[in-house]
Structures are given as structure tokens and as C-alpha cells.
């Protein structure tokens, strides 16, 4: 679902208090009638989304408008499933009118997502009960289907819908028979139906036809029907359809029919004799064989795709028989030059190799794979080689061959630059491969594509347990470094091929990015010292180069961090090793310059890198010394006022980290008394004034971390700090800031109540010990920082994640205090009543009135009176759950064409 399309149902909910909703669409009654409101655009975890707004600022939409764009809602409906499993009387009443609308060409259905939802609903009903009863109970459905047979100007969408509905209904054999009796099925799916008419030109109809048959083909009767009406031939021809969707669906239908007609796992032993196979299967297999013998590549591709799907989905014994029969034909493809449909062939072979139904050794599969590897061009063979190496049980020789294919391009690079391809011997045998050299050198596009794919494949392979052993770490490191040098222009190849390669790769950002990623991944292994030195040198070269693009630079920073992490450590000491420290001395001036870059992405990456480094080595003397000797901390502090919000956010995080490690340099001079204090003030200033959400979110995260770590500035007067932050956060328009405020509140709460935090705050654990000291006393600080007012306000927040988080927090608090009976209940006190009344108003949207000073007793009483569990349940529902009834769907569809008559007067 695209970001921002939060669904129309959801919008309707936000329109107001629920009274505008039509009958039957009221929200399920929730305690305190809290509707799950708010923006879904900002889901938790999405860091950089546009800033949330309160719903009151949202323009009201009319019902018609709200219903018009239901695309995303349809998907939502499908995903969540429609709750009602049987047809209720209200729906039955609406259905005839709807069928009439659908059958009426004068009333076009503007939105076919409704039809999708309707179909989903019918599927749900038929899966739960009898289709026959459904048809008999609702004759309008049969009428609708019959109506499709009349020659008229029907919309292709409705026609496709009807075909698919027929298929859904006829999936049950009794219903199939019922429809057969009325000759409806042959008429709809045979020559007499849309197949022979003008409607067939629409891909929607062709797709509906295929999907209808796909649903229908569930029982032996259906197979006979397919054979009788000649559907299989039509499906064959649809494999070449101009619409890719139709062509692909046709292929899948063939797979399905083949699977249906072949004996299942319970059946007898499969026979190799084609004559023993069912007619339908014979026909399909015959067609596949014919296609495999064809000269036209598209035909071969279709056959290969059908087989790939078959072996991927069905692992019955007959698949092995099928492979034994077809494998000579498949192997025959390798004799052609060039190998036709190579990608599909690779997919098929890997699909077969992965199929548990086939015993690979007996089918000659390994030989075919080996043969294929040697026949395909390096570009085509790469994916196959990777696939082979990922296989669990595979002959060692084949694995070695596959790995050699995968390494070929890099071996070529090493050879072209006249480097030793390594002592491991892995690259030795393949360096002379002229085919790869031919592939690499003719054009930039081919060379770049092959190298990027190779690097990506090797990167995928590296972390796998079945990666080849021994892993040629040193030559690969050498290759990655060489590639980076070639791209950066620092390589000095002496051979013609090397010079040519250099000219092709120079400044190529794609290869640079891929090589840096790969180099980063290689940091998990070790390498000879001189190679590691080269790695750091090339990384420094990239970080220094003015020509490094921002994305390349970011990757260079990431790779640098990974290599620094992997640098050998002195036992018992977490500090960087002397070589890394030397490197750091060169690196910091570069970082310094990058923090002044005019390009904000570069400043941002630089700050992120600094944060990572500080987090890891902030406590180590060597790192601290180098960092403090540089200008980096000072520059980072200046970037808190950067014009770009992302950079400000990263600077906030970096400064938070530096400060936590005591690496903030207090500004010298009398005008800055105490640098640390001024940082806290500066961050608070950002939190309350910054116009963008990201820096404010970052500040909240820093503050939460500081509170968690008992940062010196916070520890001085924690209550004042928390009170101040919560006050600012509660006013924030960004829901993530408010949610982060709740996180901070939770940390404070845990610290105050003296409990280590459980992993799941909402886990009700009544067995925990009561807090130390009287409860009221323990709750006093929470009241003083106005934590409850903040939490209650958040409980009725227009953004669901905030409300959920608050609900969790209050539930956690209630669980903590539940075991303590020491506090006197004061449910009946007038103060409690006034608080409850205020909360009612807050829920209604009027949050102007503050709660005032709350006493712990009152808080506890209010906490117990709230149905937090109910609220939690309501919040956990998807935002459109209230609206997602089949009845509502039918009403919506009728409303869009105006049958309900509610909007007739609107015209005048």
C-alpha cells in the first residue's frame, strides 16, 4: 500500500464523533467509546515520513468522496478478510439490487476494487458453506450469470467478475453439477461465451476467464468439462497473449490442471508410459514437449516457465517421472548456440534441483547442471552458479565448477591488472578464460553489469553456512580493492586489457557501490596484513576524493566502520589496534572536511559514521585522544544548527552520543559556563522550536537514552528534566515525538518504581513485588512530573500508535500497582469524578482543559475505572474494522451508482 493512502474507511472514522456514520456502521462499542483514530501514515518504525497532523486540521470529506477511492481499502479488505462467513438476511436483501446494478450496462461500476472485495466475500462464504445452498437461496446470482450470456454491451469488468464468480461457485462439485445442468458453464466458458465474442479482446475478460477456470478446476468433473469444451487448447494459445498477466496466468493454470489430472501422492506408482497418463495430462505434456522442440524462443520460455512452476509447487512422485521424460529435451536446448531462454532454463534447473520430490542423482540432474554451467555465458551462468552453491546437497565437483564460474569475472580483473590471483589455487585454473574477458571488455554496460552481479552474488554467498570452503578471502579482497582502484583512477595497469578495463570502469558509481558493499562484507574474514593496509588505503582514498558521490561516500563510511570493527584487538582491550589508530589519525581530518561539505547527504553520512564510532570506541583512550585532538566535536556541535533537518537530526544523535561518552568539549570562554549544560539547553531548544520532526525525534531519543543511562546532566535533577521534556513533547505535532515521550515516561516510571524493565511492558505480571515503600510515595514523583496527564492525553491521541503505547504504559502501571492494596481506594471522591469527566471531554476531542495536580490515589482510582483492556483490543483492530462488513460493502457499491437514492436531492 502506498504511504499516505491510509484507506477511506479510516478517513471516515476520523471525520468526527461517529454520529455521521450511517446506521449499521457505528464503531463497535468500546469502553469510553474511544474510536481508533489517527493517521496511519506514520506507522511506528518508519523514521522519515511526513509530519503527522491532528485530525481536526484535516478537511472533512463527504461520504461520496470518501468512497470513491477505495483502491487501497480493497487491498486492506482482502488482506484482513471479511468477517461475516455466512450471508446474513440484510445482505441477502441487498444482493438482488446489486445484481441488477451489475447486469445493467447503463450503470457502470466505476471502481473494480469493489468487485474484488465482493469476490473475496463470496470466496469466504463458499469456503465456509455450500455454494449450492447459496445459489438456491439467492436466485439473483444465477440470473446475473445467465444475464452475461445475452448479447449486450456489458462492461468487461463485470463480465470478468461473473466468470470468476462462476469459477468460485463451481469449485464445489455439487454446485458445478447444478450449473452444468443449466448449460451455464459451457456457455460461459465455451465458444458460445465471451470467448467467441467481442469482449474477448479485453485482457480483463481473458484474465477473468482463466481465473474462473482456475477456481473451477478442483474436482474430476471439472477435468472432463475442460476436456469437453476444448479449454486446454485455448489456454495454450493464451500463453502467447499480448497481456503479460494473462499469459502468466495461463501458464499457471496449465500447471494447476496438470497437477489435478496427475495422480496424487496417494495414487499408484507413476508410469513412464505416456499412454497411461490421463488424456488431459498427456495433452499438456505433449504441448510442453512440442514447445521445447520449437525454434522460437518465446515458446521455449513458456514451456520452461510452466515446468519451473510445476517443480516448484508440486513434489509428488509423478514430477520425477515428468523430469525423466523431459530432461533430454531440456538438455537438448544446451546444444543450441546461443542457448535459448537461458534465464528461464536456469530457473527451471534450480527449481528441479531444489525439489524434494526428485532424487537428483538418478535423474542426471547434476550432469545437466554441469553442462549448463559450461554452456551459458558468464552473465547467464552467474545466477545458476549462485543457486547451485546454495543447494544443500550437491556434488563437490559441481560446487567447485559453480564457484569457479562465479569467480571468473574477478579473476579476469586480477589478471588484467597483472596481479597474482592468489595462492589458494581457487582462482588459478580460471584466469585464462577468454570468454569472460570477452564479456568484460567490449562494452561498459556489459562489464559493469557483470561485475555488479558477481559482487552481489558473492556477497550473498559469504554469510551462508554452505559457502565454499576454503573461501578465497585474499584474492577476493585483492579483487575488491583493485576494482575500487580502477573505478577511482588510482590503479596503474600495465597491460592493454587493464588499461581498457580502467577506461571502462573509471568513475563508475554502480561498481563503486557494489565493490564497497562487498568489501564491507569481506571484513568478517581476515586477510594478510599488507592487503588490509591496502583496504584501508583505498577506503581513505574514497573518503578523501572530491569526486566520490554522496552514495559512494556513505558506503565507504559503512565499509570503513566494518573494517575498523574487524581490526585485530589486543586481548583484554577493546581499543583500536595501533594500525587502526594510525588510520584514524588520517581519517579524522577527512571526516572533518566532510562535515563541512556543501552536500547535506555527505554531512549526514559523516555524522552517522561519527555516531557509530563513538558508540563503539567512545570509552577507549586511543580513540578519545584522537577525537578530542581534532575539530570533529566542535564541528558536530555547529551542525546542530544546520539548515537541513536530516543533518540536524543526525547531529543531535551524534552530540547525544559524544556527550554520553564525555567527548563534548566545553566551549572555552566566560560566555559558555559549562558546555554540557548548554548542550542540554540546546537540545531542549531544538525540541521546542525546530520546525521539522526529525531533529525533535532525535532529541527525544537522546533524552530517553540519557535518562536510561543516568547521564550526569539528567541525574542532577531528573524530575525537572522529565517534567520539562514531557511538557514540550505533549505539545508536539509529530506523533513520533509524542510516542517517544511515552518511551521516556516509561523509563522514568521503571526507575521510579524500582523495577527492572520487563521486555514486554504490557505483559501483566501481578507476581512482581510491590514497590519499595508506600505506593503513594512512590507515585508522587510521577505526579510531580505530570506523567499521568501526559499519558492520559496520549491515550486519546489521534494517532493510534501513540494511544496504543500509552495504553500499554498505563496497563503496565496498573499491573505494578495491582498487588498493592495499601492505597485506599477513592473511587467515589469528587476529584475522581471530575477527572473522569475531563477525560470524557478529552476523548470527545476537547483537550483544552488540563487535569491539574493529580494525587496518586486519584490516579489509581481512574486507572482502575478505565477499561484499558477493552481499549487495547479496540486499538489493536485495524483502523477500518468498523466499516469492514459485507453489508457495508454492498451498501457502498449501491451507493456509488445511486440506487439507494440517498443522494438524489444533491443535484438541486
Amino acid at each position: 500500500m502506498p504511504a499516505g493512502s491510509s484507506g477511506t474507511y479510516h478517513r471516515r472514522l476520523c471525520e468526527g464523533d461517529g454520529s455521521v456514520l450511517p446506521v449499521g456502521r457505528r464503531p463497535v462499542s468500546a469502553p469510553l467509546r474511544v474510536g481508533p483514530q489517527g493517521s496511519r501514515s506514520g506507522l511506528p518504525g518508519t523514521l522519515r515520513v511526513s509530519r503527522g497532523r491532528r485530525p481536526c486540521a484535516r478537511p472533512r470529506r463527504t461520504r461520496q468522496v470518501a468512497r470513491s477511492g477505495v483502491g487501497p481499502a480493497a487491498a486492506e479488505g482482502r488482506a484482513a478478510g471479511i468477517s461475516s462467513l455466512t450471508m446474513d438476511p440484510e445482505c441477502s436483501q441487498l444482493l438482488p439490487a446489486l445484481c441488477a446494478v451489475l447486469a445493467d450496462p447503463r450503470q457502470p461500476m466505476a471502481d473494480d476494487t469493489c468487485l474484488e472485495k465482493l469476490l473475496d466475500w463470496f470466496k469466504t462464504i463458499t469456503e465456509a458453506g455450500s455454494s449450492l445452498l447459496l445459489l438456491q437461496g439467492n436466485p439473483c446470482l444465477v440470473e446475473l450469470l445467465c444475464h452475461m450470456l445475452k448479447p449486450q454491451d456489458l462492461s468487461s469488468r463485470v463480465l470478468a467478475f461473473s466468470l470468476r464468480l462462476t469459477g468460485v461457485l463451481a469449485a464445489q462439485e455439487d454446485c458445478f453439477q447444478y450449473l452444468q445442468q443449466g448449460e451455464l458453464l459451457p456457455k460461459l466458458f465455451g465458444e458460445a461465451g465471451p470467448l467467441g465474442g467481442a469482449a474477448w479482446t479485453s485482457p480483463t475478460v481473458r484474465s477473468g476467464w482463466i481465473q474462473g477456470l482456475r477456481s473451477l478446476a478442483q474436482h474430476p468433473s471439472a477435468l472432463h468439462f475442460l476436456a469437453d469444451c476444448g479449454a486446454v487448447d485455448t489456454i495454450f494459445s493464451l500463453q502467447e497473449d499480448s497481456s503479460l498477466f494473462v499469459a502468466s496466468a495461463a501458464g499457471q493454470l496449465l500447471v494447476h490442471i496438470l497437477g489435478l489430472s496427475m495422480p496424487g501422492p496417494a495414487g499408484g506408482p507413476p508410469s513412464l508410459q505416456a499412454g497411461d497418463w490421463p488424456a488431459c495430462a498427456q495433452k499438456i505434456v505433449g504441448h510442453i514437449e512440442e514447445s521445447l522442440r520449437a525454434t522460437a524462443t518465446p515458446q521455449i520460455t513458456q514451456a520452461l516457465n510452466v515446468l519451473t512452476t510445476t517443480f516448484g509447487h508440486c513434489h509428488d512422485p509423478w514430477t520425477q517421472v515428468l523430469w525423466v521424460r523431459l530432461s533430454p529435451l531440456v538438455a537438448g536446448l544446451l546444444e543450441k548456440d546461443p542457448v535459448p531462454a537461458a534465464h528461464s532454463l536456469v530457473d527451471l534447473l534450480l527449481s528441479v534441483a531444489r525439489s524434494p520430490g526428485l532424487s537428483s542423482s538418478s535423474c542426471g540432474l547434476w550432469e545437466t547442471l554441469a553442462q549448463t554451467l559450461s554452456h551459458l555465458s558468464p552473465t547467464q551462468a552467474g545466477p545458476l552458479a549462485l543457486g547451485i552453491l546454495k543447494l544443500q546437497d550437491c556434488p563437490q565437483a559441481l560446487r567447485a565448477q559453480a564457484f569457479a564460474v562465479l569467480l571468473q569475472p574477478l579473476a579476469c580483473v586480477l589478471k588484467a591488472t597483472a596481479q597474482d590471483p592468489g595462492p589458494s589455487g581457487v582462482l588459478d585454473g580460471i584466469v585464462g578464460d577468454s570468454m569472460t574477458a570477452d564479456m568484460l571488455l567490449p562494452s561498459k554496460a556489459a562489464c559493469v553489469g557483470l561485475l555488479c552481479r558477481t559482487l552481489a552474488h558473492l556477497e550473498l554467498l559469504l554469510p551462508l553456512p554452505q559457502r565454499p570452503c576454503p573461501w578465497p578471502q585474499a584474492p577476493l579482497l585483492g579483487a575488491a580493492v583493485t576494482l575500487l582502484q580502477l573505478c577511482g583512477g588510482s590503479a596503474r595497469p600495465t597491460s592493454d586489457a587493464g588499461r581498457h578495463l580502467c577506461a571502462l570502469l573509471l568513475g563508475c558509481v554502480r561498481v563503486q557501490r557494489a565493490a564497497l558493499d562487498f568489501l564491507g562484507t569481506l571484513s568478517e574474514g581476515t586477510g594478510p596484513r599488507e592487503l588490509v593496509t591496502q583496504v584501508f588505503a583505498v577506503l581513505l582514498e574514497y573518503l578523501r576524493s572530491p569526486d566520490s558521490s554522496p552514495t559512494v561516500l556513505k558506503k565507504a563510511f559503512q565499509a570503513t566502520f566494518r573494517w575498523l570493527l574487524s581490526s585485530p584487538k589486543t586481548p583484554g582491550c577493546w581499543d583500536l589496534d595501533p594500525h587502526a589508530l594510525l588510520f584514524l589519525r588520517d581519517l579524522l581530518p577527512v571526516l572533518q572536511k566532510r562535515l563541512c561539505s556543501p552536500c547535506w547527504e555527505v554531512r549526514d553520512s559523516g555524522l552517522e559514521f561519527l555516531t557509530q564510532m563513538t558508540r563503539h570506541w567512545g570509552g577507549q583512550a586511543g580513540f578519545r585522544h584522537a577525537l578530542l585532538a581534532s575539530e570533529v566535536p566542535k564541528l558536530t556541535e555547529q551542525l546542530l544548527r544546520d539548515p537541513e533537518s536530516y543533518v540536524r537530526a543526525s547531529a543531535v544523535t551524534a552530540m547525544g552520543q559524544l556527550s554520553s561518552q564525555g567527548l563534548c568539549v566545553p566551549p572555552a570562554g566566560p560566555e559558555h559556563p559549562g558546555g554540557q549544560q548548554s548542550l542540554l539547553a540546546e537540545l531542549l531548544h531544538i525540541l521546542s522550536t525546530d520546525s521539522e520532526g526529525f531533529p525533535r525525534r532525535a532529541v527525544m531519543q537522546v533524552f530517553t537514552q540519557w535518562l536510561r543511562d543516568s547521564h550526569a546532566d539528567v541525574a542532577g535533577d531528573t524530575e525537572q528534566f522529565v517534567a520539562g521534556v514531557l511538557q514540550v513533547a505533549s505539545q508536539d505535532l509529530d506523533w513520533e515525538v509524542r510516542a517517544q515521550g511515552l518511551e521516556l515516561a516509561l523509563v522514568f516510571l521503571e526507575q521510579t518504581l524500582g523495577q527492572p524493565r520487563s521486555h514486554c511492558p504490557c505483559a501483566v505480571t501481578p507476581a512482581v513485588a510491590a514497590p519499595v515503600g508506600p505506593l503513594a510515595q512512590a507515585l508522587q514523583p510521577l505526579c510531580r512530573v505530570r506523567l499521568f496527564e501526559f499519558a492520559f492525553r496520549a491515550l486519546f491521541d489521534c494517532d493510534r500508535p501513540v494511544a496504543q503505547k500509552s495504553c500499554d504504559l498505563l496497563l503496565f502501571l496498573r499491573a505494578k500497582t495491582a498487588s498493592s492494596g495499601s492505597l485506599q481506594e477513592s473511587r467515589s471522591s469528587p476529584h475522581v469524578a471530575s477527572v473522569e469527566a475531563a477525560l470524557q471531554r478529552w476523548q470527545a476531542g476537547d483537550q483544552a482543559q488540563p487535569l491539574g495536580d493529580l494525587e496518586p490515589e486519584v490516579v489509581l482510582a481512574v486507572l482502575r475505572s478505565l477499561d484499558l483492556e477493552g481499549l487495547q483490543g479496540a486499538l489493536a483492530e485495524s483502523s477500518d474494522h468498523v466499516e469492514k462488513s459485507p453489508q457495508s460493502l454492498l451498501q457502498d457499491m449501491l451507493a456509488t451508482v445511486g440506487v439507494l437514492g440517498g443522494n438524489e436531492a444533491d443535484c438541486y
Binding site: 577506461a503 556543501p598 575539530e631 539548515p643
Partner: protein
């Protein structure tokens, strides 16, 4: 067609093209790298420079110690800086008809050519080129004249002595032709010979060729030139850029279908991407200023400085540098900043549209308004009272040999807090810095050269598809320091022809056609006959008149009435002898039909043989042979004229006559 190459500097070209009886000089760049061999001209007495030790030969001979001084292991000439002029001996420059100027950097030698060679032609250039060129010359003259130096060294130029000198003085070329700077008077006189042109304006040169300037995208008013006759087209590409900076974009389309494309003025730093360099410039500037240091940017008063100021305009707020003053010091600073704003029609589209808002096209106007950028004609005067540090100073000359920059180098060179950032690519920064060593200040080299790089050139050549490319020899091989970089050279088919200083190149180019006009009355009298569908021919009898390289066919005068021979015929009235012309034949002879016709006319025993060029028809009885080829037919028979005529008439029946 010949090309005389007078300059060895690929970005400061000076070539002469002889084409269709015209002599066209293409640019007259002045190689100022020669000044790097001289000591800087300080604005105020510099004890350091004046106390440098004199240089003496290995054998201790110190006769040159007045002329040559030694500084940190380098030897410099202690004299007024001199410039290396284009070749003047290769071709008589008084015969040059026109000089075409492509941009203001490529006209700096103009006074030497127009004032001292007997040149009497016209110079063509666009208005911004002339105005900014004038500023550059004015600045140069001002820089040199305001610090008069009594001493003029010439002893070291003696060939026998030069051989004994250390590098690079030893290797300096043609030092005897090096000249001191021209005067303002010469500048004015030279500029008065310039005729202003606009882009796409067609200028006729003696009716022989037409020259047209096209936008080259490199600088304000910079142009490439098309030199074309009716059937030949030569493109002169000099200092072009495809980047979107301030000037109007390059006109590539008009360069298509050239017979010869002369390619000069590519980027001098092909390995440095201008975008990256601007980023580097900004980062280093911010880093220095934040640490309390000053930044010195040696630059020309026009060109890249506009783009740098624009970048800084966007950058200074983000970098927290709003309070740092920017100073632009040049005798022509004010004119340069103001001129840039008024040449709207020469600017890129974005900037042009600003004029109608109305808004100044360049944001430096706002920098000046808000007092962030201040400009001064020189160090003296207002500047000294306004000056506060840390600051950023833009000033010339980029060679660091004269101008206000010399003072700032002396002033700030001792502190490592300060930084000098080189942005102009014309001078090697290490050589420029040599007389200031040892130097504590940081040096950053961010050459910003927006001219075409080799990748862009190869794309350009693919697009415009010239038949031949001619370029300086430096472009046909990788730079010596990076011999493996095959990408740093021009790669085209057929390979580019290269030239070097003082070389004459015969361009592989043959004139095959001339355009001739036919007078209307003559044309009226023609009776074309259709030979093939779509092709008609007519015979013409006329008199060819040629004047000012234009050719006209006029009707022949009527045959003179026989006059009594009283008057003597004047030579001009001679009429060419108009013989009775035989009709012209066209068409081909279909052999089979021809044989049938022969048979019809009583010839028998005919044999036809196919030959490589056609057929031989053998009349065996008549012992005659008819040889039919594509463009000729021969009848070979033994003295039987009757038979020959008969056969000829039969042959002629198959051909058309007109």
C-alpha cells in the same frame, strides 16, 4: 586548406587557417606560464624577496647574480615578468584578413598581433568577450604598471647562457621572443579593431566564406565558430562547456556535418570533476574560517568567480559563515560584478528569466547588498580600514607573480591557520608557490575547469560526426604522468590529426565543387530534357564571370554583327568560338533488341560475347565488330564507311539525343 599553428598551448590557441583565399586567425591566446620563471612583484617592499641570494654557476661564476635569484632551491629571474607570444615568423601576420576570438581568455595576445605585425584586418568577437577581455587586459596592465621595476634582465636569455641554467629556465622555449606586457594605449588601439557580433550572426568574408559564432557554453559570450563556403564547412571548437553554469548552453547542433573540426581548449584538469572541486572548495573554506584562519583565493576577475560566489551564497548560511566577510580585490572588480549582471542575453535560460522578474541574474548582487561581499580596486584605500579577519579574499593574479595576491601571500603565508585555495587551472600551483617557500599556510588545489573533458568530447564527436578532427598533439595521447589513462585522450575515427607549435598542417580536404549562379535570362532559355525520371539535362552556352569569389553564368553576347572592321575588337569583347555542337547522347543499348534490329536490317550470323565491361556483337559475315560498353560504343570494320554509318545510325536509334 592549411592550418598554421602559432601556439603550443592547447587552451590558449593561436592558429591561422588559410581557406578559399582567405586568411583567418583563430584566437590569439597569450601563454602567461612564462611569468612563473620570474620573481613576484610585491606591492610593498618585501625584505624577504629583496634579500634573496643571487644565483651563481657551479664554478662560482656570479655574473648572473643580478638577474637570477635563488629561493628554496629554485632560481627565478628578477625582472619585469614577460609573456610568451604566439609565433610571428611562421606566416606573415600582415596578411591575416580577420581574427576570430572565441572567449576572453583567448584574446590576451591581441595587442601584440594587431599593433606590431602590420595587421590591417578586422577582429570579430561578441560583446561580453570584448568587455571582459578588456577588463582582464586592464587588470594585467594595472598589476604590472603600478609596481614599476627598473631592472630588465636579458643576459640570461642568451642561448649559450640559458643552457647552463637549472630547470625549468633551461627548458623554457623561445625565451628570446618573450615580451613585456603591453600598454593600455596598445590595448585600446587593439580593441578598437574589434567588430562586435552576436550568436548565429552570419558574416561574409569577401564572398568566399561565411563565419558564424555559436554559443560554446564556457563563459559569458564565449563562442565556437563555423567557417563555411557553399560546399565546405570547418568548425572551430575552442573552450566549450556542457555543464550548466552561468553562460548560455553550448550550441552543438550547428556543428554537425563539418568536414573539418578543429578542437582546442579542452579542460586542463581532466581528472577533476568541477562539482567535486566546488564541494572541496567550500569544505576547505569553511574548515579554515571556523578555525579562525583566512582564506585566499587567487583568481581572475571574471568567469569561475561568479559560480564560486553563487555556490558560497547558498553555502555560507548552512555552514554558519554568514558573519565572515568576503573581499574581492581587483582594479576591475566593480566593473566585472556589474557587467555580469547586464549581459542577460548571454546567460543561461534560468538567469535570463530572472531579468524579467526583475531580479539580478547573479546572487552576488545580494551578497553585496547585505555587505557580505565587498569589493575594492586595490589593497590601498577603503579596504585597509574595512579589513577584518578571519575573512575570505578573492584576488589576482592566479600566477601569484603580480597583483594584490602577492601581498596576501606575504602577509598570511607564515600562519598554518590560513589557507590558499587554487581554483584557476592555468598555472601549476606548486610552481606558483615556489618563490614563497617555505610556506606555513595550507595549500588546497581545487582547479575548477568547466571546459569539455574527454568523455564529453567523445560524445560530442559521436553526435556531430565531423569527417576529420584536428587538435593539439597533447590531446592525442594520455598525459605523460598518467600514461595508463587511455580515457584521457581523444579517441575518434579516423584518428585525429595533431599539430604542435610552429607546424603547418595541410588539411585533408579537397575543394570539389563551386556554386555558380545562372542569370535568370539564361536560365529562361534552357530547355531541359528528361533523361531518366527525375533527371533532366540541358546544354548551356554561357560566359562565366568571376568576381569577389562569386561565379555567375551570363548569356553569351550575340554574335557580333560584321562590322566593317573599322573598330578594333577589344579583348574583353572576345566571344568564345561557338562551334556547332554535336548532340549529346544518353541512354544504354539493350543488346537483345539491338541484335534483333540488326537481323531485321539484313545482318545474319550475329554472335554476342559478354565481356567484363559490356558486350561484343560480332557480325561474322561483314567481319565487323561492335563493342558496346557502358560509356562508349565502337564499331570496328575494315574501311567500309558505308557500313559503319549504317551501323552507327542503328546504334543511335537506341539513344536519346539532346
Amino acid at each position: 586548406m592549411k592550418l598554421y599553428c602559432l601556439s603550443g598551448h592547447p587552451t590558449l590557441p593561436c592558429n591561422v587557417l588559410k581557406f578559399k583565399s582567405t586568411t583567418i586567425m583563430l584566437d590569439c591566446g597569450l601563454d602567461m606560464t612564462s611569468t612563473l620563471n620570474f620573481l613576484p612583484l610585491p606591492l610593498v617592499q618585501s625584505p624577504r624577496l629583496s634579500n634573496l641570494p643571487g644565483w651563481s654557476l657551479k664554478d662560482g661564476n656570479a655574473f648572473l647574480d643580478k638577474e637570477l635569484k635563488e629561493c628554496s632551491g629554485h632560481v627565478f629571474v628578477d625582472s619585469v615578468p614577460e609573456f610568451c607570444l604566439p609565433e610571428t615568423e611562421l606566416i606573415d601576420l600582415s596578411t591575416v584578413d580577420v581574427i576570430l576570438i572565441s572567449n576572453y581568455h583567448c584574446m590576451m595576445a591581441l595587442p601584440y598581433i594587431t599593433e606590431h605585425t602590420g595587421f590591417s584586418g578586422t577582429v570579430y568577437a561578441t560583446e561580453p568577450t570584448v568587455q571582459i577581455g578588456r577588463l582582464l587586459m586592464e587588470e594585467l596592465v594595472n598589476f604590472i604598471e603600478r609596481v614599476p621595476k627598473a631592472q630588465s634582465a636579458s643576459l640570461w636569455k642568451n642561448k649559450d647562457i640559458q643552457r647552463l641554467l637549472p630547470s625549468p629556465l633551461k627548458d623554457a622555449v623561445e625565451v628570446s621572443t618573450w615580451r613585456r606586457c603591453y600598454t593600455m594605449q596598445e590595448v585600446n588601439s587593439a580593441l578598437s579593431k574589434i567588430q562586435l557580433v552576436g550568436y548565429s550572426q552570419k558574416i561574409e568574408l569577401f564572398g568566399a566564406v561565411q563565419v558564424t559564432p555559436l554559443s560554446s557554453g564556457y563563459a559569458l559570450g564565449s563562442s565556437n565558430w563555423i567557417i563555411q563556403s557553399h560546399y565546405e564547412k570547418v568548425s572551430y571548437v575552442s573552450g566549450s562547456s556542457l555543464l550548466t553554469t552561468h553562460p548560455q548552453p553550448m550550441d552543438q547542433a550547428s556543428l554537425k556535418n563539418s568536414d573539418v573540426l578543429i578542437l582546442t581548449g579542452l579542460t586542463q584538469i581532466p581528472t577533476a570533476n568541477p562539482d567535486g572541486m566546488v564541494g572541496e572548495f567550500c569544505s576547505n573554506l569553511a574548515l579554515t574560517v571556523r578555525n579562525g584562519g583566512n582564506v585566499l583565493v587567487p583568481c581572475y576577475p571574471s568567469g569561475v568567480i561568479y559560480d564560486l560566489l553563487e555556490c558560497l551564497y547558498q553555502y555560507i548560511d548552512s555552514a554558519g559563515l554568514s558573519n565572515i566577510p568576503f573581499y574581492f580585490i581587483s582594479p576591475v572588480a566593480n566593473s566585472s560584478l556589474e557587467f555580469s549582471q547586464i549581459f542577460a542575453e548571454w546567460l543561461c535560460h534560468n538567469k535570463q528569466t530572472k531579468v524579467y522578474l526583475p531580479e539580478p541574474p547573479f546572487p552576488h548582487a545580494e551578497l553585496i547588498q547585505t555587505n557580505k561581499l565587498k569589493h575594492y580596486p586595490s589593497l590601498h584605500g577603503d579596504f585597509s580600514s574595512d579589513f577584518r579577519q578571519p575573512c575570505v579574499v578573492f584576488t589576482g593574479h592566479p600566477s601569484l607573480r603580480f597583483g594584490d595576491v602577492v601581498h596576501f601571500m606575504e602577509l598570511w603565508g607564515k600562519s598554518s591557520l590560513n589557507t590558499v585555495i587554487f581554483t584557476e587551472p592555468d598555472f601549476s600551483y606548486l610552481e606558483a608557490l615556489a618563490p614563497y617557500q617555505p610556506l606555513a599556510m595550507k595549500c588546497i588545489y581545487c582547479p575548477i575547469d568547466t571546459r569539455l573533458n574527454f568523455i564529453q568530447v567523445s560524445k560530442l564527436l559521436k553526435e556531430v560526426q565531423p569527417l576529420h578532427v584536428v587538435c593539439p598533439e597533447q590531446y592525442t595521447q594520455p598525459p605523460p604522468a598518467q600514461s595508463h589513462r587511455m580515457d584521457l585522450m581523444i579517441d575518434c575515427q579516423p584518428p585525429a590529426m595533431s599539430y604542435r607549435r610552429a607546424e603547418v598542417l595541410a588539411l585533408p580536404f579537397k575543394r570539389r565543387y563551386e556554386k555558380i549562379e545562372i542569370m535568370p535570362e539564361l536560365a529562361d532559355a534552357l530547355v531541359p530534357m528528361e533523361i531518366k525520371p527525375g533527371i533532366s539535362l540541358a546544354t548551356v552556352s554561357a560566359v562565366l564571370h568571376t568576381k569577389d569569389n562569386k561565379h555567375v553564368l551570363q548569356p553569351p553576347p550575340r554574335p557580333a554583327q560584321p562590322t566593317g572592321g573599322k573598330k578594333r575588337k577589344r579583348a574583353s569583347e572576345d566571344i568564345p568560338d561557338c562551334k556547332v555542337l554535336k548532340p549529346l547522347l544518353s541512354g544504354s543499348i539493350p543488346v537483345e533488341q539491338f541484335v534483333q534490329t540488326l537481323e531485321k536490317h539484313g545482318f545474319s550470323d550475329i554472335k554476342v560475347e559478354d565481356t567484363a565491361k559490356g558486350h561484343i556483337v560480332l557480325l561474322q559475315e561483314a567481319e565487323t565488330l561492335i563493342q558496346i560498353e557502358e560509356d562508349s560504343t565502337h564499331i570496328i570494320c575494315d574501311n567500309d564507311e558505308m557500313l559503319r554509318v549504317r551501323l552507327r545510325d542503328l546504334v543511335l536509334k537506341f539513344l536519346q539525343k539532346f
